[in-house]
Subunit: 325 residues, 2 copies
């Protein structure tokens, strides 16, 4: 059976893999992302690396079903282009599909990295290949991807799945990078929750070392915040309670609206693991109506860094084989 | 070309139609919904009426592509059954698909009435046949239907699209019929907004005839509330402002999450028309991030009572012709 070439493009490295259509990773490697010269080396580097790997494995494009890719930036699926991936220095429009089809004469499919990771988790990870799965990625920002009927939802202009910009609290004054107020990302990303902690520190009266450090302007990480809360630190607990309340409310919105089989929590902050999951779930359950409460499950992501390459492979499956399996 | 038989089952009458696959209604009639004897006459009445109409028009089942139907109650698509439609006295499981296929030997498709109306508006109404359209129906309750890629979203157990049970304000103490608090339906349905007005009347200090009537326990309708607000009545305006704030926030959740081409407002309360639309839109725009704000449009439903039969017809199209057109 033909294999799939999967690409997960990140700001520091490009993960590549040869994947069996059933989801088994046959071969996996990576190349550095060289972002100088306006990121103009990135795609040629990827193409050269694939060509080299195919030769080394005595494979030709006849052995390949297609190429799938996840990329940062604003994508235009119809045009086959991407723009505005600032961590790649891609300020100009990148004709991705043209570049890859010129090099390989193979079907090429791509999507933004958050969507591709969601598809990977839906297919081979925590979603257990159920039809309707939503992923929330909590890291530097809060992103997400929505899979309905086994396919990614893009919406009118590709902005679907932007869970981070749900207005989670209309009374919040903290500005989001997107320009509006009250966004989930502004209080629940790794950066956002520390900003929230700083704000809460100015009015909180509990004695707390963590709070004192924030007031003194020292760097406190989201991981430290969760560790302190787990250890029972009062101020940290009140911050984590508020963050997970917001996340639980957002999950309830997804659940009450779409009733997916799974909502998957992923990204760096999800390393807080079972503790995070339980706190978010408690609020989510409160805010879901009974049918949804009993059917939509909240789970942690399972694939880690492999979500991107597996999602990229599934893009090829869905388009070339017309199957969810 | 073969025609479609469309059925929209309601608590007082059943609307029936013969519809061209392109959406043109060729013939339309209705029969009363006889709900006595546990609703056992309803389906036989519908079947007899269709048989009669086909004979009268010198048509046979060979002229028909299939039968589509919208129904109240909790549906089981896989089993082809419905249960718990209390306004029809259907307390026992109704084997709808069995009944219709036994009678006609034709393909039969059905869905719940809110979903079917959403599909009708998406296909032939305000959705202009765009792929991603969400409808919110504001009447006695707040319901909805979500169309993604031209198909209805059902979710894990068919609970998708229950926009009315989004927790729109976690601080609200008003209980919802579903058993939880803070639901959109509890403050934005025709009944809910009057309950909200009563609650606000107890603390509001503005002189207001409408408020006095509420305090005296007189019946005030949602239509009166909107009329008073339109006429500039202060108390009515403060209630409508809060209701439309909640509706605008809910629309922003839909938009930020799914970025549909259209969000369609329908149902009895939508008779408040342009006034309602403008108030809701003002808040929705505030709460959407820029890409979504510029692409997801809020519009009023266009089909009125015909949404149900057109959606029912489209169910047949989607399943038998595999087309969105």
């Amino acid at each position: 059976m033909k294999k799939i070439i999967a690409i997960d493009l990140g700001g520091t490295s490009v993960k590549l893999a040869i994947v069996d259509p059933s989801g088994q990773v046959m071969d996996k490697w990576s190349v550095p992302t060289r972002i100088h010269d306006e990121g103009s080396h990135i795609v040629p580097d990827i193409i050269a690396s694939i060509q080299e790997r195919l030769s080394a494995g005595q494979m030709t494009t006849a052995d390949i079903l297609g190429i799938g890719m996840g990329t940062p930036g604003t994508i235009d699926l119809a045009a086959g282009t991407v723009i505005g991936a600032y961590n790649l220095n891609w300020k100009e429009l990148q004709p991705l599909r043209q570049q890859f089809t010129d090099a390989f004469q193979l079907p090429f499919y791509f999507d933004n990295d958050a969507n591709v990771a969601a598809l990977g988790e839906q297919w081979q990870g925590a979603g257990l290949n159920h039809a309707d799965v939503v992923m929330i990625t909590i890291g530097t920002g809060v992103g997400g991807g929505i899979v309905i009927g086994g396919h990614l939802v893009h919406g009118a202009v590709g902005a679907a799945g932007e869970i981070g910009h749900i207005t989670i609290d209309p009374h919040l004054e903290m500005p989001c990078t997107c320009g509006k107020k009250g966004c989930l990302e502004a209080v629940a990303s790794a950066t956002g929750m520390i900003n929230l902690a700083k704000m809460m520190a100015t009015t909180d009266t509990m004695p707390s070392e963590l709070k004192d450090r924030l007031i003194r302007g020292e760097v406190v990480t989201a991981a430290e915040l969760f560790d302190a809360a787990k250890a029972g630190e009062g101020f940290a607990n009140s911050v984590v309670d508020r963050v997970t309340h917001y996340l639980g409310l957002a999950c309830s919105h997804i659940a009450n609206m779409l009733n997916p089989e799974y909502i998957v929590l992923g990204g760096g902050v999800s390393h807080a693991g079972a503790f995070l999951l339980e706190c978010v779930q408690m609020y989510m359950i409160d805010y879901c109506f009974s049918q949804v409460r009993n059917s939509t499950k909240l789970v942690l992501a399972q694939l880690g860094n492999d979500a991107g390459i597996l999602g990229a492979a599934q893009l090829v499956n869905l388009n070339e084989r017309g199957t969810k399996a």
